[in-house]
Symmetry: C3
Subunit: 210 residues, 3 copies
């Protein structure tokens, strides 16, 4: 029950981040709602299509779309009068990532797939919406940029934690809360201290002179 409302909050937060991205590209209102929608439900949609679920979650329950439409227009309205709260949005986005990742893991579990696939679906649910948003606005996806540190690493760590804790016998409810906290704290720390993973970089010129 309570997870459902958390999920809706995550959708609203992601919709706002999509609407703000649309504002930076100067789209019209329909474009704003379109981009907010793709950002907010893209990850869950990719998951549902890959798992071949009978009905994609937002087709079954239109509450998600109404939430996105409301969040988009609230964002447009807010930005007309105030400076967009980019820092707040970044932390809210970390919370959305955490919720989406672990709730995505639960959907995959309910579908009866292996642990590896649960982890893959969890990360996809968390990050795919933002990837699609970036591709549509002509940006290199954020989880590939060093300016958004540890985005997918946070999702991966939380998903692995969630799966491992259950393997160790922890109740699903506790594993859920801990998994969500791991993603969020990991990402909070990464933003706050600007942490980064080691990069894999190929330098043609240097290698050529070997």
């Amino acid at each position: 029950m309570s997870f459902y409302y958390l999920d809706l909050i995550g959708v609203a937060v992601f919709a706002m981040s999509g609407a703000l991205a649309a504002g930076r590209k100067q789209l019209d209102w329909v474009g704003v709602v379109f981009l907010a929608t793709v950002t907010a439900i893209g990850g869950g949609t990719v998951r549902d299509v890959l798992l071949n679920r009978d009905t994609v979650f937002w087709i079954q329950d239109p509450t998600y779309l109404w939430g996105i439409i409301s969040a988009s227009f609230l964002t447009i309205l807010y930005v007309r009068f105030f400076r967009p709260p980019f820092n707040l949005i970044m932390y809210a986005d970390a919370l959305g990532l955490a919720l989406f990742t672990i709730l995505g893991a639960q959907v995959a579990e309910a579908h009866g797939v292996s642990n590896l696939i649960v982890i893959v679906m969890a990360v996809l649910t968390g990050v795919a919406g933002g990837v699609i948003r970036d591709v549509l606005t002509g940006e290199i996806p954020h989880l590939f940029r060093s300016t958004e540190p540890l985005y997918s690493v946070a999702a991966l760590t939380g998903a692995v934690t969630y799966v491992l804790l259950q393997k160790l016998g922890l109740l699903n409810d506790y594993a859920t809360y801990i998994g969500i906290s791991v993603v969020a704290l990991f990402r909070f720390a990464a933003i706050f201290w600007n942490l980064n993973m080691p990069m894999f970089s190929i330098d043609h010129d240097k290698k050529d002179s070997d």
Copy 2:
């Protein structure tokens, strides 16, 4: 019956617009047919996958693919001798958008989804093919550009009209013709008078000085 032929004409028109986009990017013939195909059937494919239909429409009925292949080679041949009729294509594209949008709404209705989802699927069927074409050729999607005014707004208005008219008791046939006309006329007008929606724009510098 007659809608089927209208649908095929829409596919051919969209294939030509895809083939012309390929020509501007200097692709080889296979690339031209590939891009024409994606443009022409991308929207309906996204719709069918999201609705989880048993069979995607162009897999069930290969007439669509043959139509696209023919339209692509006719475009290549035509452009070898004449100037591509960009203005004509723009108006034909408006007609294709109108047909795809309302026929997409009908497919969604037959699948038994809510009115909101019918409208979403209608707009997706109309615009997604062009979005995929633009992403593949490295352009910002056309429905996000102010140079293609009211593209998605036209589709949205027509889809809403189509759904509302049926709610008000109008026969499906009349609602279909009126819905198609609304999309096409809206878009014709937008092209002719270069109409635009209000933009949602975030100007960092100005906001910062508030």
Copy 3:
């Protein structure tokens, strides 16, 4: 049986090409594995989703994902000490393309679709993974670039050969080996002699002066 191992080799080769592309974009390790995965299983995933198969192949058999993860880390490790073997990778990629294309055709045949759809699914299985990799890293897809000559043409020719040979009564096993060889040899020749298809090019200025 033996085709299964060939398929795994194809997946590993494509994963390496994805990991090297990630290295050129300076991604972190999670990004490298993500891009390697998308490159290696993107084509088969698009095919499975479009055919509406009960379970996407890599969800059913996690061996694919473990193979990709291994190949990614081997690539990272190798590049730390040696120059990446770009030429070798290009020829290995041609082999991967050949395997994916014809094994994709077999999956489509087993699904009972028409010959035209078998050919389309074969080409999609071969090329879609690379297209998604290029879109995610902000590049114009390789099969649209003249720097990667005859990529999709090779896949198309091999798929048509495979279907035709079976129509002519050849056993499936022979048609498979010949189809794979046609794709690989076609692509080897294209790389070696830098062959290209005729381009379809629209030159606005020249046309305007007609």
